[in-house]
Symmetry: C2
Subunit: 145 residues, 2 copies
Amino acid sequence: MKTLKQMDRGALSDALDHAGQRTTPQREMVFSILLDERNHPTADEVYTRTKSRMPTISMATVYNCLEALVTCGLVKQVNIEREPTRYCPNLSPHAHFHCRETGRVYDVPVPEGMMKDLVKVLPGNYSADSVELVFRGHLEKGKTK
Amino acid sequence: MKTLKQMDRGALSDALDHAGQRTTPQREMVFSILLDERNHPTADEVYTRTKSRMPTISMATVYNCLEALVTCGLVKQVNIEREPTRYCPNLSPHAHFHCRETGRVYDVPVPEGMMKDLVKVLPGNYSADSVELVFRGHLEKGKTK
DNA sequence: AATTTGATTTAGAATAATTCTAAACTATAT
DNA sequence: ATATAGTTTAGAATTATTCTAAATCAAATT
Ligand SMILES: [Mn+2]
Ligand SMILES: [Mn+2]
Ligand SMILES: [Zn+2]
Ligand SMILES: [Zn+2]
């Protein structure tokens, strides 16, 4: 995909607007990069990919754009162990699987309502606004994805 | 608790031995510190507490000891967002709750078998050896623990 | 007991992801 | 046109952690 689909462009403007932030070419490009290949890239990977299409962009700007996208709710940060933060534009409730062999991170769809049900294990005085479920292991050979 | 209980001392020696590592005063002290106050301290906090009872210990040694304890399976690392790694000597399956207000991390007991059941959401070609469940939110006033 | 061996501890340097700073740039509002 | 405020940018700073190399220690062997 060379550019942002009209739908995504609209969602981006709306979300940024709602958070009092401007829509800029850099933010559009970074968002487009994230949507284009959803393999939980690190900031550095986003930088490399973005730079190939917008050679003047800086690392600082990539971090700034990613932060803007996270702030306005279009992207989630995924932290696994002490590795660099990864970025995920998948907004539906899902878990993550981290393969020890390849280091790759995969989205794992979960049954409807499961993430919300998990908070039921919390004692009454705990109130959670986010639930994070991460598996670690390996992918059997055969399917690589 | 001034020193390691006999039970814990034995578990420590056995576990270190099994991993081909020696039992040292520093490792015993660090382990004792972790067991004594189970509030998921960071390496830095462990360093401070340990230093008060063993003034010559160094930060490098604290990291080394913590790594030894993790390697031999007596302690788990807990990573939350980009914060410094925390250390948890609770070996029973449990979840974690991270309070946004205080920054503190709490153990959340889960029903028997729940952590193991969670892996059932994984497609057949995924095989997980660890499951991590983290909630984020806040503790209602009243009980602070 | 003295010596060898290898693991451990230690101080300090190095690393690396991220954040910060301040100047240049851009877009919008007046 | 000018002012204002947000954004981008390069590079410096930060910081948790790892690495390095020398000193220490403890077990094993002579
Ligand atoms: Mn991995
Ligand atoms: Mn917090
Ligand atoms: Zn994801
Ligand atoms: Zn814990």
